[in-house]
């Protein structure tokens, strides 16, 4: 009730004031009348009444105090006053607002990304219940896939899960949409989507009875595939499509747009995670298994339960499962682990940036508080308490912070799109990331934090005044107490140190990333284009038809203007395959050497431009019936034939079919080619590689490579016409130049963090420069009188310049040393995120101080030059 009245009185402020004036006027009039009645003349009566009454304003002020809403009133008054102050100093306001907007904006933007991509990476209900399950044989297979029978056993025996689903992804050709397309397809168990907790947006989910060998095929489309190849029309449901030219299937559903929008995510979901003949084979491990824990069950319980089952399988099937264990990981964890460390690093660096921004503004505020000293002294002398003045100064900084925050959020919103365009395409939930409510709350927190952070120290400093001291000082212009200047110097040192840490971090990340880019790959990526390519139509099921098709395709492609060579190269999956060398004793499977195996046409090797180091390349003499031959790379020759001539040696690549070792096919090494990095492991050290000639070992697909003549742009339409001239049902839509790493996964994260950390550290450098400039300029202004005297007494311009620069150099020097020491400590944290680069890289640790010294010199030199141009006469009249 009382509070209500108080609040009401706050909003009725003007009315109350008016009533009060009226009441007092009434009183005064009555008093005058009384005086007149007592026999005074009118002037006398008025004068006596006024004297008696006292100061109307004072009474009103005392009366207002009685109303009890002073603090709120003060707050509004402070705000009004703050707005006036900010408008009075547009330069200061602009610099601080910009600084703050950059700091808060950068923090908000990185937080927005972290919030979804790292903290909430899975767009499924109860993501904490989802786990990924692996069969493991450390150290060789620390996170292996799961064999179909093991999956079935887990599903049957484990009690901790409410559902366990499996999938296997590979590409297929699809016809029946608006045009043929190659769909990276996830073959799943029927419960897959329901385990994730996802419902199709259109149509329905799979049914358990559809996951049978002879049941009619059904598929569910990803949203953007539905958009691209089915025109986004609802009649896509029920549409008949053909997979690989043979299997008929019906579209039964379309997934919502937020379900795996990444470019490289599966385009289509169909049933049949494993063929029924694989259901009993423990040796072939290829399933990705996802489980949902029962509510209340933990990861550890799941791990324990599955370990018991795995141990039992090991005893039951020692041949395939001896020593194999199981590993249950949180799905969230596996989804974000590639992005998290670098995003946290970025969050840390924007934190530093914000800190620098705060230090900068604190510095500006300190400088301004000094020039407002007389105002503050006056207020104090008039009876304002210290608390009241601190409150007012804090009000100003909070207002500044709030305005900066608004600008910062705007900036964050505007720059988010740009930043996301630099982010790896598979960053979790990349399409949903926005400056959302949580990010807004976060930036509000930042506003409060920064408002107090940069405002409190200057406010306390400004009010810690000895009135006598100030009044004495103000005679001769050295306005600032010793303490103030010392504090501001400390702030500049801190700022320099922070900027050094950020610059070193960014320098290391940038150098590491550029190092990745400039790795020799063993071929010229410029002008080389590639695309996944496959023939899955039944017409191409025989080796002879595949051979004919690719011969015709190569001929057609060579007709296209600018194409100098074109061919197919087909890696045998990812990861190495074991092999044995003729004449060497057979080794147990665990010790067999491995190499990357690929089938390559002669033309593909020409397109790559792999140099032939010894022996001969593939040729027309290598026919299906001639001696089987292979080429190996330099790394393979070094590792396995060191000191011997590999040419003429024979090798068998050990292959399994349905768990059975296939009879050996001994292939003769006819040549050694230069090392190349495969597109799958672009940044690993060179792998040993074995190439089989396409003519002897045809496949139905792989990667199609085209080499363009230098300076000729690629003409996708002409290429597509050429491809369809051979067969109109083979999908072909896009080719990528092999320059630059694909912007995905770890590489994409490194790229993003290089761009952002470089950008942030550049901002930090600018802010630090502004800070140094501010302090030095102020320093010079304060000493103008002194400099004038020095020059009048014969000091040369050079002396003055040197004097000022020296004082600046001290600040920068100390900051630099502290910053470098802190960087050395910080570098260890970064070590894991650097690619083939020592965190103490001497180049980075040398170049950063140089850059900083250069910028700092400029920031000191401008005020120093001004000081050296001081006209002694003017200076002595200063103040």
């Amino acid at each position: 009730m009382k509070l209500l009245r108080r609040l009401r009185s706050l909003f009725r402020q003007d009315t109350l004031d008016r009533e009060m004036s009226e009441e007092m006027r009434h009183h005064l009039e009555l008093q005058i009348e009384a005086n007149l009645a007592a026999g005074m003349n009118p002037d006398e009566a008025r004068y006596a009444a006024q004297r008696q009454f006292g100061g109307v304003e004072q009474i009103k002020e005392t009366a207002r105090d009685q109303r009890g809403v002073r603090w709120l009133e003060h707050l509004l008054q402070d705000l009004r006053y703050a707005v006036r102050q900010l408008r009075k100093n547009p330069g200061f306001t602009a610099v601080s607002l910009l600084t703050l907007a950059l700091g808060i904006g950068a923090c908000t933007v990185v937080f927005s990304v972290v919030y979804l991509a790292v903290l909430h990476p899975l767009a499924y209900p109860h993501p904490e219940q989802l786990v990924a399950i692996h069969e493991v044989l450390p150290p060789k297979f620390p996170r292996g896939s799961v064999s179909p029978p093991a999956f079935l056993e887990f599903q049957k025996q484990a009690t901790v899960f409410s559902g366990l689903a499996a999938c296997l992804n590979y590409s297929q050709n699809v016809t029946g949409g608006d045009e043929p397309f190659r769909a990276y397809t996830s073959h799943v168990t029927a419960n897959y989507l329901s385990v994730l907790g996802v419902q199709p947006m259109l149509g329905r989910d799979f049914r358990a009875d559809e996951d049978k060998p002879n049941a009619p095929g059904v598929v569910i489309l990803r949203y953007n595939v539905w958009q691209s190849y089915f025109g986004g029309r609802p009649d896509a449901i029920g549409r008949a499509i053909t997979i690989n030219g043979t299997q008929a299937a019906t579209v039964i559903g379309v997934l919502p747009p937020e379900f795996h929008p990444e470019i490289n995510a599966p385009a289509m979901y169909s049933l049949g995670a494993f063929p029924s003949q694989a259901a009993a084979n423990y040796k072939t491990r290829f399933l990705s298994v996802t489980g949902r824990l029962q509510p209340g069950r933990t990861l550890t319980q799941a791990q324990t339960e599955l370990e018991v089952i795995a141990r039992r399988l090991g005893q039951q099937y020692p041949d395939s499962n001896k020593d194999w264990g199981v590993q249950v990981n949180s799905l969230t964890e596996e989804t974000v682990e590639f992005a998290r460390p670098l995003l946290y690093t970025l969050l840390g660096s924007v934190g530093f940036l914000l800190l620098i921004a705060c230090v900068n503004i604190a510095n500006l505020l300190l400088a301004r508080a000094t020039s407002r000293q007389k105002e503050i002294v006056l207020r104090t002398a008039l009876g304002a308490s210290r608390g009241r003045i601190v409150r007012q100064l804090l009000g100003e900084s909070l207002l500044l912070a709030a305005l900066g925050g608004v600008l910062g959020v705007g900036l964050a919103h505007a720059s988010l799109k740009l930043i996301l365009s630099l982010a790896p395409v598979d960053l979790p939930r990349i399409t949903e990331i926005s400056v959302n409510g949580v990010a807004l709350a976060f930036s509000c927190g930042l506003v409060l934090l920064t408002g107090f952070g940069f405002g409190l120290v200057p406010a306390l400093q400004a009010t810690r005044l000895d009135l006598n001291q100030v009044l004495k000082d103000s005679g001769r212009g050295s306005g600032e107490g010793r303490g103030g200047l010392r504090l501001r110097r400390l702030l500049v040192i801190a700022e320099v140190a922070l900027a050094v840490v950020l610059l070193v971090g960014a320098g290391l990340l940038a150098k590491s990333f550029l190092g990745m880019l400039s790795l020799p790959r063993g071929y010229e990526p410029k002008g080389l284009y590639g695309t996944p390519f496959g023939l899955t139509q039944p017409a191409f099921s025989t080796a002879a038809s595949q051979l004919t098709y690719f011969e015709r395709l190569q001929e057609q492609l060579l007709q296209v203007h600018g194409v100098t060579s074109a061919g197919i190269l087909s890696p045998w999956g990812q990861g190495g395959r074991p092999f044995e060398v003729a004449g060497e004793p057979p080794l147990p499977p665990a010790n067999q050497p491995v190499a990357d195996i690929a089938t390559a046409s002669k033309e593909a090797m020409t397109a790559f431009g792999m140099p032939l180091l010894r022996g001969r390349a593939f040729g027309a003499e290598d026919t299906p019936t001639s001696t089987p031959v292979i080429l190996i790379n330099q790394e393979m020759a070094r590792l396995h034939f060191s000191g011997k001539d590999p040419i003429g040696q024979r090798i068998n690549v050990i292959t399994y079919q349905n768990g059975q070792i296939q009879p050996a096919v001994w292939r003769e090494i006819v040549g050694v080619v230069g090392n190349t990095r495969s597109i799958f492991s672009q940044f690993d050290p060179f792998h040993p590689q074995i190439f089989l000639p396409f003519t002897q070992f045809p496949t139905n697909g792989g990667y199609l490579y085209v080499r363009m003549a230098p300076g000729t742009p690629i003409d996708l339409h002409a290429l597509s016409v050429a491809v369809h001239a051979v067969n109109k049902d083979v999908p072909f839509s896009m080719m990528w130049e092999m320059t630059g790493p694909p912007n995905a996964g770890m590489v994409g994260m490194r790229r993003l963090s290089m761009f952002l950390s470089t950008g942030f550290s550049f901002l930090a450098l600018m802010l630090a420069a502004i800070g140094i400039y501010g302090v030095m300029a102020y320093h010079v202004a304060q000493r103008t009188g002194e400099i004038g005297i020095r020059m009048a007494l014969g000091a040369q311009r050079g002396d003055v310049l040197r004097m000022i620069l020296t004082s600046g150099a001290w600040l920068v020097g100390i900051g630099l040393v502290i910053g470098l020491a802190a960087s050395l400590a910080m570098a260890r944290v970064l070590a894991a995120q650097l690619y083939h680069l020592s965190p103490y890289d001497p180049f980075v640790f040398c170049i950063i101080p140089l850059v900083l010294i250069g910028v700092a010199f400029l920031a000191c030199w401008l005020p120093a030059r001004r000081a050296s141009r001081v006209d002694p006469l003017v200076a002595l009249r200063h103040d």
Partner: protein, 112 residues
């Protein structure tokens, strides 16, 4: 909240009591209250306006008196104050307090 001015603090208890007492007979405006106090004390107590109005607002704030705009004897708009029931209770309490204190002080002064 800002500190009350020291003079008012000194007078506060008694001034409040005097104002409440002055209002006991019925609503009057500020000038009337100061006249009333003067008359009741036979010209011995004069209330300064500087203390009167803040005290009035404070009492109003505490809910002991209520204010209302009305028309004064000479047809001018004036703010009339009156006792609320709470104010009436307060007057009784403060009168009793005052009597106790006055009696105590008298006792003290009579010693020696």
């Amino acid at each position: 909240m800002a500190k009350p001015n020291p003079k008012a603090e000194l007078l506060q208890g008694t001034l409040d009591l005097l104002i409440l007492k002055a209002l006991q007979r019925g609503p009057i405006h500020g000038f009337g209250i100061s006249l009333e106090i003067r008359q009741m004390s036979q010209d011995m107590l004069r209330v300064e306006q500087g203390s009167l109005y803040p005290a009035l607002y404070r009492l109003e704030e505490q809910g002991w008196i209520a204010a209302e705009w009305g028309v004064s004897d000479n047809n001018r708009k004036a703010r009339f104050y009156s006792l609320t029931p709470a104010g009436r209770r307060q007057l009784t309490i403060e009168t009793a307090n005052w009597e106790q204190v006055a009696a105590a002080i008298n006792l003290v002064l009579k010693v020696t």
